[in-house]
Amino acid sequence: MTEQFPTPVIGMEIHVELKTKSKMFCGCKNDPFGADAPNTHTCPVCLGLPGALPVPNRKAVEWTIRLALALNCSISMESKFDRKHYSYPDLPKGYQISQYDQPIGHDGYLEIGEGEKRSKIRIRRVHLEEDTGKLSHKEIDGENVSLIDFNRSSVPLVEIVTEPDMRSAEEAKEFGKKLHRIVRYSDVSDADMEKGSMRLEANVSVSEHTEITEDNLPPYKVELKNINSFRFMALAADYEIKRQREARARGEKIPQETRGWGEAKKATRLQRVKEDAQEYRYFPDPDLPPMRFKEEMVASIKKSLPPMPDTYAAQFVAAGASYESADILTDDMATAQLVAEALPLVSDGKIFINWFLRNRDTNAALSAADLAKRFADEKGSKVTDEAVIIEWVKTVVDENQNVVAEFKAGKESVLMFLVGKVQKLAAGKADAQVVMRLLRSQIDQYTRSSVAR
């Protein structure tokens, strides 16, 4: 069965709530999770009262540019807001202010995996919109009702859409984690999956082709929605891939539908069948003048971005760390920054990184300078005092005449053997560079002195 539809095709849509102080189109407090009571962070605008008008939050626009740049996107220098119409009780105006044909960011990418598994996931668009209110469901007097809280209504929301470039559930999970990390590095969102300030959707289908191109994409996709962890996302995608392979192998047509993850049954379950193509009737929002960004503004936002996880990871790998270690160290920016700052201050990066990871909890609280000092203290600072080292060197040369002879005969490689002997005497604390230099000069001197003798 697997052979018939070997290739999973997965694209993702991620929503991220920006942590601005105020909402996207009004001055209400943007803190739906911290609100004392429902519907208290509301005003005419986010309740969609008659006559109310939206005015966009400058910071939210700048932060969307920032996030788009962090995701290697091009910026639409001319951008605008459009109305996206659909009817749902949590959508107060009957339309969502979103972006249609001029998303703030477009054509970016993000890389996941290492070595041969390294792959580039293309990002189609990064656009800014407003969040909806929040629905909860309840039974009141025997009647099933939905309750609506508009504290979340019009919270700035960035939507990131990828191309269908992921080929396994594992890749989807890895993409999600990487994106999460970049959002956090960009410092524009809490990106808290539990609180819903980062929300994942995956579009999953399986294909009979081994190479996927624009032209042979599967004729359907199943949308996995309302999944609040990377692990569940991977489980759901894996389940879907298997389910779809089996169904398609049986010759079934898979309907365009939305499914969620049922943790109890460890299975995806149908949420909604999309009968008609959505008819959103987008048009430019006449209440909001268009945006035109200046090159200098975009450049200055770009300049303000910190190094991204990949930059740090490359630095750590170059210092001798494994991919796994680099991955762990770059999980949060503060740690990555600390390690990167400490690296030039320590004598052996690889040993330092391994040592750091073994004592991560206590180390993370230190400054880079303190960290380097502690590393030096704990690992024993290198003995660099030549007067001390020369005594060990003399002893080793005296005691290893045969090896010295081999070295003199041109067998360079034995030098490391002698270095090891010295370190044994020095309990590993001698500076290797100094040891090597002194060994060479000592052997040289020894030869001359013995001739003189």
């Binding site: 008659p50 107060p92 009957g94």
Partner: protein, 472 residues
């Protein structure tokens, strides 16, 4: 009668303690008692004692530096949010809606010391040109109660015409201030788009909607605009353009307008225009000529496309703006819309839907670009354009409602202004033999309100049409 006085005269009388705000407010309620049953101009009348109390407070707190509208009674079209006072937009959907906030224009008028008397009847959501498409009973024209007052701000015009308030604030999306002003013999200004904040004004077609003054004279409108215009941080489309002292700029209007050129687009005076209206506008142009203005005949080949552009974009935007009325947070559900409103929503929904978007909505937005260029060209060849407001006099109640298409055609001279954004001043220009009012529009460049006021004021200095009130 006291309320026949201009705002300037009223303010002078108040300052000299010849009469009080309380007197003015009492007079309004006297007129309301007599005229409201005839005209049905109000939807909500502010409780008399409340208004009188406010007037007394204003009288007591009056200082010599009181602003021009201080203590002056006014009314609002019922499309403006007024905290604690219901705002229906003449629709059953909002029959019981009490806004918890104030429209910017209302806030500014309150801050200027003006006193709200009531909320005026209209075509629901602005959908109409006769003030019959209302769930609160059709408004009647005080000049002939068998006839409509025009719309959609019909209650405002009727109310000012019979002095139930000193002035009104209307809203014009395709003629809604100018059309009833012409048919009720009042003066009304459709402002430059962005001149006055739309915040708190129930949206009909957002990119056309304008909030403007309606009054007994050009001079009054200038005073009202001065108090209400200006940038508003709550309306992203409001213009960060300084507000001139419109009233001060009226001084010496006649010398200023001398040698300015009037453009007369010939296409607007052709077939379909009532001969009496044509004659009235031509005679008015002669008055302006007499004031030293030049007249130039121009051509506006796009004219016929004005209605299609308007009736594609406005319904599209209204289908979107009215999507919020779902009965969840306020108001009744969508079964409460009138058939006229449902039709407009459906036309707009259709024009925006996949497969029709390019041929209708997008095409109209392109045509709009051509209209903007057309007006720019015309207004580079002259200083202002003069044209009729309506092709006919006010029709009898029921005539327009019978035929949805005829309803649209009544707006032929006013609708093409709004997609362009330029200001247009409607002034009384005469009467038919039967005694029905006729109006003329003076159209200017963006933010040329001052010039329009100067011309209109000079015209009203030469004519007395605007001073005539219907027989009561």
């Amino acid at each position: 009668m006291l309320l026949d006085l201009s705002i300037r005269e009223l303010q002078a009388g108040l300052a000299a303690k010849k009469f009080s705000s309380e007197d003015l407010v009492r007079k309004c309620y006297e007129n309301i008692a007599r005229e409201q049953p005839r005209t049905n101009a109000f939807i909500t009348i502010v409780d008399k004692e409340t208004a009188l109390k406010e007037a007394k407070e204003k009288d007591a707190a009056r200082t010599p530096s009181a602003p021009p509208l201080y203590g002056i009674p006014f009314v609002l079209k019922d499309s403006f949010a007024t905290r604690g006072i219901r705002t229906t937009c003449a629709s059953n959907v909002l029959r019981d809606f009490i806004p918890p906030y104030d429209a910017t224009v209302y806030r500014r008028l309150r801050e200027a010391g003006a006193i709200l008397i009531g909320k005026m009847n209209m075509d629901a959501w602005g959908h109409g040109g006769s003030s019959e498409n209302t769930d609160f009973g059709a408004v009647r024209n005080p000049w002939d109660i068998e006839r409509v007052p025009g719309g959609s701000s019909g209650g405002c015009a009727a109310g000012v015409a019979v002095r139930m308030a000193a002035f009104a604030i209307g809203e014009d999306t395709g003629g809604s201030i100018r059309n009833p002003s012409a048919w009720c013999n009042t003066t009304g200004l459709k402002v430059t788009y962005g001149r006055v904040s739309r915040y708190g004004c129930v949206a009909y077609a957002s990119s056309f909607d304008t909030v403007g003054p309606m009054g007994k004279s050009v001079e009054d409108c200038a005073a009202i605009l001065e108090a209400t215009a200006g940038n508003d941080l709550h309306d992203a489309t409001s213009a960060p353009v300084p507000v001139p002292s419109y009233t001060a700029e009226l001084a010496g209007a006649e010398s200023f307008i001398k040698d300015k050129t009037i453009g007369v687009p010939r296409e607007l005076f052709g077939e379909g225009l009532d001969p009496e209206i044509r004659a009235s506008i031509m005679a008015s142009i002669d008055v302006l000529k007499g004031l030293g203005m030049q007249v130039k005949e121009l051509s506006m080949p796009l004219f016929d496309y004005g209605l299609p552009v308007y009736y594609l974009i406005a319904p599209s935007e209204t289908s979107s703006n009215l999507a919020r009325y779902d009965g969840v947070r306020y108001g009744g559900d969508r079964s409460n819309f009138t058939e006229e409103t449902m039709r407009r929503i459906m036309i707009g929904t259709y024009a925006l839907s996949a497969g029709y978007y390019d041929a209708y909505y997008r095409k109209a937005q392109k045509a709009r670009t051509l209209f903007i260029a057309e007006y720019k060209r015309l207004l580079s060849e002259c200083d202002v354009l003069v044209m009729p407001v309506n092709p006919t006099v006010a029709p009898k109640v029921g005539e327009l409602m019978a035929d949805p298409l005829a309803n649209l055609l009544a707006d032929v001279y006013t609708v093409s202004i709004n997609p362009v954004g330029v200001p247009s001043l409607a002034v009384p220009s005469g009467f038919t033999k039967a005694g029905l009012p006729i109006g003329m529009q003076i159209v200017g460049k963006m933010f040329a309100e001052s010039l329009l006021f100067q011309i209109g004021h000079a015209f009203q200095s030469e004519t007395d049409y605007h001073t005539r009130a219907p027989k009561v």
